[in-house]
Subunit: 234 residues, 4 copies
Amino acid sequence: MSLEALKSAVLEANLSTVRSGLVTATFGNASGIDRATGTVAIKPSGVPYEEMTADQIVAVSLDGAIIDQRLRPSSDLATHLVLYRAFPEIGAVIHTHSTYATIFAQSMVPIPPLGTTHADYFRGAVPLTRHLTNTEIGERYVEATGDAIVEAVGDRDPMEIPAALVAGHGPFTWGRTPAEAALNALMLEEVARMAWCSMMLRPGIRPISTELLDRHFLRKHGAAATYGQLGDET
Amino acid sequence: MSLEALKSAVLEANLSTVRSGLVTATFGNASGIDRATGTVAIKPSGVPYEEMTADQIVAVSLDGAIIDQRLRPSSDLATHLVLYRAFPEIGAVIHTHSTYATIFAQSMVPIPPLGTTHADYFRGAVPLTRHLTNTEIGERYVEATGDAIVEAVGDRDPMEIPAALVAGHGPFTWGRTPAEAALNALMLEEVARMAWCSMMLRPGIRPISTELLDRHFLRKHGAAATYGQLGDET
Amino acid sequence: MSLEALKSAVLEANLSTVRSGLVTATFGNASGIDRATGTVAIKPSGVPYEEMTADQIVAVSLDGAIIDQRLRPSSDLATHLVLYRAFPEIGAVIHTHSTYATIFAQSMVPIPPLGTTHADYFRGAVPLTRHLTNTEIGERYVEATGDAIVEAVGDRDPMEIPAALVAGHGPFTWGRTPAEAALNALMLEEVARMAWCSMMLRPGIRPISTELLDRHFLRKHGAAATYGQLGDET
Amino acid sequence: MSLEALKSAVLEANLSTVRSGLVTATFGNASGIDRATGTVAIKPSGVPYEEMTADQIVAVSLDGAIIDQRLRPSSDLATHLVLYRAFPEIGAVIHTHSTYATIFAQSMVPIPPLGTTHADYFRGAVPLTRHLTNTEIGERYVEATGDAIVEAVGDRDPMEIPAALVAGHGPFTWGRTPAEAALNALMLEEVARMAWCSMMLRPGIRPISTELLDRHFLRKHGAAATYGQLGDET
């Protein structure tokens, strides 16, 4: 993949989060990686979305060295890099403050799998990180945020749980491509909204059964997927 | 009705669910049937709505035999076919994951008739299916979903209750035409949203009286309907 | 005022309720009256809003005699006529099923004046009608709905409380002109939404003081109003 | 800054509150000040937003003397002037009745800092004014509203808490420029909405730690800010 193609895909993922209503003001950032070269492309910091161009997308190496110097990268860069190093299968990371996912993150409540809408995208509860320590907040906040996400995912397959909630902060999602990570960010928000309303309507509500969860997740993902057209990537 | 006309009406019903905000991503599917020939036309699986054309709508027979081979039909086809075979009066079926109807389905709560908005479209509570058994989930999930809907409607007239909630999943609606099924999907979502808010505001709220329910339903439906212009279909 | 001008104003009020999101499908109806001639112009029954023209607005006399025969008037006509006869100051009536106002009507809860947003448009709680009797529902439903509204307004000034909630049904608003009635319908919905959220956040919440209520209401209405430009109608 | 430039910036801030959905009907008003000349430019009273021009923005001096006589200024002018006199650092003030911020104001609940979205814009809880006395309401309502805001901010830095809720009424926000005050109004509404939902989901929810709050606020504001591009104003 050329660097231009990567930057275009990253720009488009950033813009799609705005179009979908997941991002207000300059909140949020999307990045992508070319695994062949180890180049990460990420949104510049604080540039208004309406003026953003592919040219302004910042390129860095997997260890954070700047490849393209024109603009400062998103202030959340270090979190993205931790995720790329920990999860070799992923090709893109997106951070938003989307309303309902952020509400769960603020409320310190993982998002339980209450229906098949959830199961079509996430195989089980969307995990929540622990609180960072004051030392972590003071000395290596952004990187420690990534570490906490990796810790929260634990030994689950990151391609089956392509999202996590950072305690008191908001959601990160990922995927094989920037477009897939953006779709996961959109579905996470919808699933969070439905979960919030369901938990208000029915306190003590229980997750759907493992059988129903797996039936839906595996219909869309993995080797035995039957959803979509033959040869579809997703 | 020509197959082209049927496919066009089905395409339009699919697109209208997106325009109305009932459908996100590739969720949802609408179908229609030509009762004269027994041909069912249904959305293809996993095709993005913005690229969908009438040509891509898949035609199958009532027992599921493919008439038009170009694309795979919606993965929910078997549910639609069960409904067409069980309810001879209906001409279209729509499945969505619309937010509030899905919340009721996830929360295992039928939608009670709390006001005349509900009564104008649904003569009584919108029913909820039982949970499927693990055997049903594992061996004949999609067809069993249809059976559970038919079981939940029971001996009520499907034209008077043109919707049901599948437990842990989401709503199905139907109607005489694809346009009518789409309108029922839209009104179901609005009625569900109002019911959710009413139940939060007033725990223990009771349905409206049978007299008021019937007054509104029969004003718009059946032989003695007085709503609309003379000669109107609806 | 010419009949054409009245019909145009009524059409515009009907369309504005759709643009403002107060009306879904064919719900809702707006009317206006020319007090000089006693002619009432009202939305036709069941005509899709996107196709509605000023020509199709139906003209009737204050006692319901059809002046212009082309289309059947809104099925709620008799309610509008009761209000015009009981409240000589009003020049327009609008009925919607707007979401939050309808939620209060369904929940049998008058909308309390919880803030100055409410007070800028409604001088006190928005009243709720009693339930209609089965005889009223069976024999003179639409007219009895109007009677119940008049009864709920009681001896309050209808220009100070330009709205009421019909139990189990939804809101009616009114004003001097179709545009003012439409604005009142819009503000009622916003006020209802805020009241719903406030009552959820703070159970047992109390209305604002009479002093604050009057300060805001009288700033915008009545002989001593100071809001807007000199010579403004509102 | 020329008076024309100030009026244009004030017009744009007024219009942006409508575009962002913070303002319905003629609610809301934005103003800006040129500190060099002491000229305040403010929205005219009761003019529909869709017709408003920069020419119609009213210019007054800091003590309220009219500089430009064409239209009456916003009825909330005196509140704005109190804030400009009390907070010398601010260059703009905006008042809205935005839904969720107003809900907190009506419910007499300050907005607690529940997450980093809040911390990125407001360093601590958004304060709530006391109730005005009946004498204040009767004799100097608009000015007393400003005094109550200043009292509620107390000895906190108004640039670190660029918003307050007026009891039973709604929010005021401020900033160095009209654009910054408008952004603060938008973020206040989003933060209020998230706080409302979080408090419903998790009664008794606690604010984030001071360490996390400061980490986020100081990342975007003050001498050591690291967010955005070098040389950015914000």
